[in-house]
């Protein structure tokens, strides 16, 4: 790791000032950034640590509205009792990220700001029609996730929370790479008042996306049999050493079916 200057932000306003220092980067759980710095894939001059800012912590559920502070860890999301009742699919998703030690540090804000094409949270937020709140504005999830490791965040903009309306039914099914535990394909289905949304992670050439074919099949018939024979095109899907685009296309339909079964269970 190259030399770096560490700053611990006391508040979001403090972090917004500190992030203007040199070529600074925001540090939350550090579960991606620190490994990237160790391999010199990232070499910020300064780090602004958000993890101790209390206003960024915690899960709030008010009626059907769920708001999760950006620095809330995966462990906290997975174990929040109110969230388990309001949107158990999201608690379950958080429990599948990395391993217990990683979940103790990694945060929802860090995950979505990084937008790894195989990360779990982007699929959930896209399918839930979530809003990403920053220190400057509110951004709809479908405008936020822009591509591989790309978001619509501007330089120095800080994610402070995400918010969504709890769906009537939802589930996440993940086909994990047996070595890395990242999603080869992860499918989040949500059925809410605006219909059915289905978002896919791990598979898209351009990161997380919504599957029109699966959504069309499930609209008006939210059952596994509605997905019988549904084909997802392999166009724009990733091919790598783990799986071909065709294999991923098939897996999307399989994981969607499992997710619908879990959501209806």
């Amino acid at each position: 790791m190259y030399a770096v200057n560490y700053h611990r932000a006391a508040s979001v306003a403090d972090a917004a000032k500190l992030i203007k220092t040199g070529d600074a980067k925001l540090l939350s759980g550090g579960m991606t950034l620190i490994p990237a710095m160790k391999t010199r894939l990232a070499a910020p001059s300064d780090l602004v640590d958000l993890s101790r800012i209390t206003e960024l912590q915690g899960v709030r559920v008010s009626g059907k509205t769920v708001t999760i502070g950006a620095a809330t860890t995966h462990h906290a999301v997975a174990n929040d009792e109110k969230l388990k009742k309001a949107c158990p699919a999201l608690s379950h998703l958080a429990s599948l990220i990395g391993d217990p030690a990683v979940r103790h540090k990694g945060t929802i804000g860090g995950s979505i700001a990084n937008n790894d094409p195989a990360a779990d949270y982007p699929a959930a937020l896209l399918a839930l029609g979530a809003t990403i709140i920053t220190n400057k504005r509110e951004i709809a999830a479908d405008k936020f996730f822009k591509g591989l490791f790309e978001t619509s965040l501007k330089d120095g903009e800080i994610v402070t929370a995400v918010t969504f309306t709890a769906p009537a039914k939802a589930a996440y099914e993940k086909f994990r790479n047996p070595a890395s535990r990242y999603a080869i394909v992860g499918v989040f289905v949500a059925k809410g008042k605006d219909g059915v949304s289905v978002a896919v992670t791990g598979a898209g050439d351009d990161g997380v996306f919504r599957s029109k074919e699966i959504e069309a099949a499930l609209a008006g018939n939210f059952t596994t049999s509605a997905l019988d024979g549904v084909k997802v095109p392999a166009k724009n899907l990733m091919t790598d050493i783990h799986a071909s685009a065709d294999y991923r296309a098939n897996l999307i339909a399989v994981m969607a079916k499992r997710a619908v079964a879990a959501a209806n269970a």
């Binding site: 770096v4 550090g30 620190i34 160790k38």
Partner: protein
């Protein structure tokens, strides 16, 4: 450089460290606590697991300065004098180690796991929770046995066993 102040295994310690110093290196090189190991150095193998403010974390993926102000428990802080912690005793009893390299991380993960599951553990949960700890000798079988046995012992003697901080 920053001043790093920690409470490690019940003792207040402090020292200057470069901001890029990893917590594991601060523990091993500045404090001489070499029980915490660096295995893969890529946050996968878990040989570096310690508890920071009561939670198991990978100390190779955390800066020492990030932990400043926190309470840290390492493998050296588990035993009560000459009396092994119940998890250490169970690893010994059930042959939960061969070469021993992964053992400090396994034990720190196990104590964290047991404290998060006061209702008790089953084999499937133990295996799932060991996701982030890699052992190349044992095939995990006796590690799982040891953790299940320790979980039972600690459940039976709540309050007597020194719980993970």
């Amino acid at each position: 450089m920053s001043d790093v102040s920690l409470m490690v295994n019940g003792k207040r310690v402090s020292g200057a460290a470069e901001d890029r110093t990893l917590l594991v290196h601060f523990l091993r090189e500045n404090l001489g606590l070499t029980g915490t190991h660096v295995g893969c150095d890529t946050s996968q193998c878990g040989a570096c697991v310690v508890h920071v403010d009561g939670k198991a974390v990978k100390s190779c993926t955390m800066l020492a300065v990030q932990a400043s102000g926190s309470t840290v428990l390492t493998i050296e802080g588990l035993a009560n004098g000459a009396d092994l912690h119940p998890v250490q005793a169970a690893f010994k009893e059930h042959h939960g180690l061969q070469c021993g390299f992964c053992t400090p991380g396994m034990i720190m993960t196990a104590t964290d796991m047991i404290s998060r599951h006061p209702e008790g553990l089953d084999e499937a949960t133990v295996r799932a929770e060991l996701d982030g700890n890699i052992c190349r000798c044992t095939g995990y079988h006796n590690i799982v046995k040891a953790i299940l046995a320790a979980s039972k012992t600690m459940k039976g003697s709540k309050g007597k066993a020194k719980q993970a901080a």
